[in-house]
Structure formats: structure tokens, C-alpha cells
């Protein structure tokens, strides 16, 4: 399909897809089962094409991307159990829709890290923007700095660990999974959550609707200590536990037919 050029040199096709004619750059230095390439001069599409070519065509299991330059949508949709190291900071939507890879980001990330992630591990050395791990289904994500507003919104599984603070409405409409927040949490923590558990080490500005303190068990201690040990996060601070109060209308005990009668 013919592309439409712009003054910036970036090309779009009729569907708005960026760089429809981009090809695999083929610049990676491959050594056995590992590969490394510098992304500084590459566009987002070229970076992802290079990565996918290494993983899916060449079967490389250990890839390093240098100088990502905060470009958006890097390493999205990787469905193999590879090891990926990003030397620097990717931008928004990094590692979305992944299923299986073990990713180490040696920098910070923008909004929407690991959106809809299915499984795998992502460790970020710096902070993350808002909407971190939105609708995540599984896997572990560790953010060693702060994370922004609405962290783990609509979370459906997995574990989110944030060593710094989180913003407003963290855990909003959370449905399952766990959040371990070592720092402070903003207003409306766990607002309208259905299920799941949120642990907070610092202060909570305010709890959201139907989010209540939970009863601490040995399983909670075991979980947090194990995660701290696996990811080498240092001494375990004291945490408070928050769960769904299950007082909202969707938790009544009525059958649908009975509910109609009540309404």
C-alpha cells in the first residue's frame, strides 16, 4: 500500500499506520543466543521490527536494546519467554500485551507500562507514569521509583510492586491480583474495587468507595517477603492491607430474577 509522506519524513498509509514500508534494519550484533542493537537512530517501528525479527525469525533468547530515547510503544506484544534488557528509558505504552518475557528497563517509563500484560516479569529501575499496568492479567511488574495516577486500574491478575509513591485512584475498579506499594498512596485508593489485595507501606491519602482495611494473615507476610527476596528489594517494611468491602450493589446475594423484583 502506498504511503503518504510528511515533512518530518514519517510515512503513514491510508489506515494511519506509521511507516508502512519500513523494513527490518538488520543492525543487531548477534552472538550465539544473544543480540544487541542501538535504537538511537531508529524509529519506533524499526525498533519493533528489529526486535521481532530477532525473537521470532532468528530465535534469539536474550536481546539488549540500547538508547531507546523515550520512544513510544516499544516491545509491545512479545509472546515469547525471552530475556529483554532496555538500556535507557522507553516512552509510553512500553511492554503492552506481553506474554512471557523477562524485561529489565534500566531507566524510567512513560504512561501505560505493561497494559494488558498476560505473564512474564518487568522490572523498571526508575519511575513510571500514570496508568501503569492498566488491565494487567498476570505476571510481576516492579517499579523501583514512583508510579503515577490510576496504577493498576482494572487490574485482573498479577502482582504490581511500586517501591515509591503512587497517585490518585490507584487500584480503581481492580478485579483481582495484588499491589504492593512501599510508599504513599494518593486519594481514592482501591475505589470501586471488586476483588484483589492492595498492600501499602506508607500513608494513604484516602480510601476509595468500598475499599476497606483487610485482616492480615500469614499468607500476606509470606507473599511480601517472597517478592522482596526474589527482586532483591531490601528490608521489608510494615504494610497495611486493603481489600474490597463488598458493600456495593453488585455484591448483593440476589438472583437476577429477584433483583428485578426489588428494583
Amino acid at each position: 500500500m502506498a504511503g503518504v509522506g510528511t515533512k518530518s519524513g514519517v510515512r503513514y498509509d491510508a489506515r494511519g499506520l506509521v511507516e508502512p514500508e519500513a523494513e527490518v534494519p538488520g543492525i543487531a550484533e548477534v552472538s550465539g543466543d544473544t543480540a544487541r542493537f542501538d535504537a538511537e537512530e531508529l524509529t519506533t517501528r524499526q525498533i519493533n521490527l528489529e526486535l521481532r525479527d530477532l525473537v521470532y525469525r532468528q530465535g534469539i533468547k536474550d536481546v539488549t536494546i540500547a538508547n531507546p530515547g523515550s520512544k513510544n510503544s516499544l516491545a509491545v506484544g512479545i509472546l515469547e519467554r525471552i530475556k529483554l534488557t532496555i538500556e535507557g528509558s522507553p516512552g509510553w505504552f512500553a511492554c503492552g500485551l506481553i506474554d512471557g518475557p523477562e524485561v529489565h528497563i534500566q531507566g524510567r517509563v512513560g504512561w501505560s507500562l505493561c497494559e494488558n500484560m498476560m505473564s512474564g516479569v518487568v522490572v523498571v529501575d526508575g519511575p513510571a507514569g500514570s496508568l501503569t499496568c492498566a488491565a494487567i492479567r498476570g505476571g510481576d511488574v516492579v517499579v523501583k521509583g514512583n508510579a503515577g495516577a490510576r496504577t493498576g486500574i482494572d487490574q485482573k491478575g498479577g502482582t504490581i510492586i511500586v517501591m515509591g509513591d503512587v497517585g490518585i485512584n490507584t487500584g480503581f475498579m481492580m478485579q483481582r491480583g495484588r499491589q504492593i506499594i512501599a510508599g504513599n498512596a494518593g486519594d481514592g485508593l482501591g475505589d470501586s474495587m471488586y476483588d484483589g489485595t492492595i498492600y501499602v507501606g506508607g500513608e494513604v491519602a484516602s480510601l476509595g468507595v468500598d475499599c476497606v482495611p483487610g485482616e492480615w494473615t500469614d499468607a500476606d507476610t509470606e507473599l511480601i517477603e517472597r517478592k522482596y527476596r526474589i527482586y532483591d528489594l531490601g528490608p521489608v517494611p510494615e504494610f497495611k492491607k486493603f481489600v474490597c468491602g463488598k458493600q456495593l450493589h453488585n455484591y448483593d446475594s440476589l438472583e437476577p430474577s429477584e433483583r428485578k423484583l426489588v428494583i
Binding site: 515533512k7 530515547g69 528509558s89 512513560g110 495516577a149
Partner: protein, 309 residues
């Protein structure tokens, strides 16, 4: 969507034209419809005014060259009549003009008198503020207006994706806070009590150049500044007075500040060093200004911060 950016040099002037162009062009994907700059050059006793006599699309109409020339002559005549001693007047585009002048009177009558000319819109007025905005991406506007050579202490910029109004200069950011000298705003978001504040400010004698909600913020803040309130306090008040989702950056003759709404619904990334502060909607813009992996952070909800030159 839209993207905003700001940069302030705290130890003397820098190449803010080049810097903002780099930042804005890197966020072209957030808004390719129009690009605007509010730049602060050296301040002296001259008043600098930027105004347009036609929208870019109108200017290509039949007979428009002669009409614009007639209105330009009228503008010069009116400036002289109101007591302004024009030193220079120039145009890079044929429809957008820049003039410097000696003028010690009130700014509002001057702006009103000029805008009484059909098609005239004053984009900025003050001792150091220059607002430049036009259709297209940052590289296009930079090339058109020769902004790469602009040196100054601070500035802001905006790339716009038109969502609720036309692709034209009236809807392009930044907005000057008519009739207050040297105050401008760029904004990413939507204000839901726009009509409330527009009516209220109009009752107090303000007029608006556009139907854009972002212009409210500029005039709202300038009104508070005129009453003697510090910029930071005015911006904190705005978090309670303005409804909606927003992140905005405001600049005055010697300050630059940002405010994020209570939902933190609109993004901003902040880089801060001893001599340079930069803010942008996306990290990628900061990377185009500071080449290395510099430390940045995302401000939280209800955060307001102001820096002085």
C-alpha cells in the same frame, strides 16, 4: 490530545526557539494541526506586538493581498494615532505581523483599536512576550517564522489536535491573557465550567479571541495577577475554580509554572537542573532537549510549581 512544552533558563538567555521546536516536533503525533510558541526575548523599553490581519487560509483568497496591505497601513496609522511610535514592522508570512514601538499608554485601548480593523487579531502584546502560531507542525512554523535564531530566557509551546473547534489560528495555542502584558498559557485538557467562567470574566470587562476553553485560564490567571496575587497562589486557586481535566503551563515576563488537576488526568514530565527547567507532555520531548538519560519525574495530582528566571 495535544502536547505542551515549556523551558526556562535560570541563568541567562538560551536558544529557546531551537529548543522548543525540537521538543514540539518530537510530539507531532499528539497534534499535527497547528503549532504555537510564546517566547520571551530580551526586555527593554520597547513594546512588541504580534498580530494577524487574516487567517492563513483566508489570505490566499482573491484580492486578499491588496486588502491585507490596506489593513496593514490602517494598523500603522492607528498605532500612530494612539500615540505609539513604531520602530519596526515586519511580516514573514504576509498575514502575520510583528511590530516594535515606543508606547507608554494603556495596552487594552491599543489592542481594542487595532482589533477594530476587520480580520485583525492581536496575538501578543508586552515588553518581551512574542506569540507565534500557525498551521502545521513545529518544523513548518519554525521555518516560516525563522524561530531557530530566537534567543530568550523562557518560553512555552503547543502542538494541537483540533477536537472541538476549527483548524485555525484563533483556536491555536498559546493564548495571550488579553489585555495583560506578557502573560500566556498553553493547556492540554478540557474545562467543563468554561461558560461559567467566560460569562464571569466578560462581566468584568474581558473579551475573548476564541471559543477555546484554554483562553479562560490565561485571562483568569492574569486577572488574579493584576490584583497582586503571586502566580503560584493564582494557579493553586485555579485548581479549585476550574472544573475538568487539565494540565497547563503559564508564563509571565519572569516566571514559568505548571498546574495539574486533581485527577492527574493529563500528563506532564518534569526535568529540573540548576540552570534549566523543562516540562513536556511526553518524556520524548525532554530527550530532544537534554540528550542524556537525565532524571525526570511525573508531577502528581494537584501539583503546582513555579520557577523564576
Amino acid at each position: 490530545m495535544c502536547g505542551i512544552a515549556g523551558v526556562i533558563h535560570r541563568n541567562g538567555p538560551g536558544d529557546i526557539g531551537v529548543e522548543l521546536t525540537r521538543m514540539l516536533q518530537s510530539m507531532k503525533h499528539r497534534g499535527p494541526d497547528s503549532t504555537g510558541y510564546a517566547l520571551y526575548g530580551p526586555s527593554d523599553d520597547m513594546v512588541v506586538i504580534r498580530f494577524i490581519l487574516a487567517e492563513p487560509n483566508e489570505s490566499r483568497g482573491f484580492g486578499m493581498d491588496a486588502l491585507i496591505e490596506k489593513h496593514r497601513a490602517e494598523a500603522e496609522s492607528r498605532l500612530a494615532k494612539i500615540g505609539a511610535e513604531v520602530a519596526t514592522i515586519s511580516s514573514e508570512t504576509g498575514y502575520a505581523f510583528r511590530a516594535t514601538m515606543r508606547y507608554s499608554g494603556e495596552l487594552q485601548p491599543l489592542a481594542d483599536y487595532l482589533e477594530d480593523i476587520p480580520g485583525c487579531e492581536v496575538l501578543s502584546l508586552g515588553n518581551s512576550l512574542e506569540i507565534v502560531k500557525d498551521l502545521g507542525d513545529a518544523a513548518t512554523v519554525d521555518e516560516q517564522y525563522g524561530l531557530s535564531s530566537f534567543r530568550g530566557t523562557h518560553g512555552i509551546g503547543h502542538v494541537r489536535m483540533a477536537t472541538e473547534s476549527d483548524v485555525d489560528l484563533a483556536s491555536a495555542h498559546p493564548y495571550w491573557a488579553y489585555p495583560f502584558a506578557d502573560v500566556a498559557v498553553v493547556h492540554n485538557g478540557q474545562l467543563t465550567n468554561y461558560h461559567h467562567w467566560k460569562r464571569r470574566l466578560e462581566r468584568n470587562g474581558h473579551r475573548f479571541q476564541s471559543e477555546c476553553d484554554s483562553e479562560i485560564i490565561a485571562v483568569y490567571l492574569a486577572g488574579k495577577l493584576e490584583q497582586g496575587m503571586p502566580l503560584e497562589a493564582a494557579m493553586k486557586d485555579s485548581l479549585d475554580d476550574l472544573d475538568g481535566v487539565f494540565t497547563y503551563v503559564c508564563v509571565t515576563g519572569n516566571e514559568l509554572g505548571f498546574a495539574k488537576d486533581e485527577m492527574a488526568a493529563k500528563p506532564l514530565v518534569l526535568f529540573e537542573s540548576d540552570d534549566l527547567v523543562a516540562v513536556a507532555t511526553e518524556e520524548v520531548a525532554i530527550r530532544h532537549l537534554v540528550q542524556s538519560e537525565a532524571t525526570t519525574r511525573d508531577p502528581f495530582e494537584r501539583e503546582v510549581k513555579v520557577w523564576q528566571v
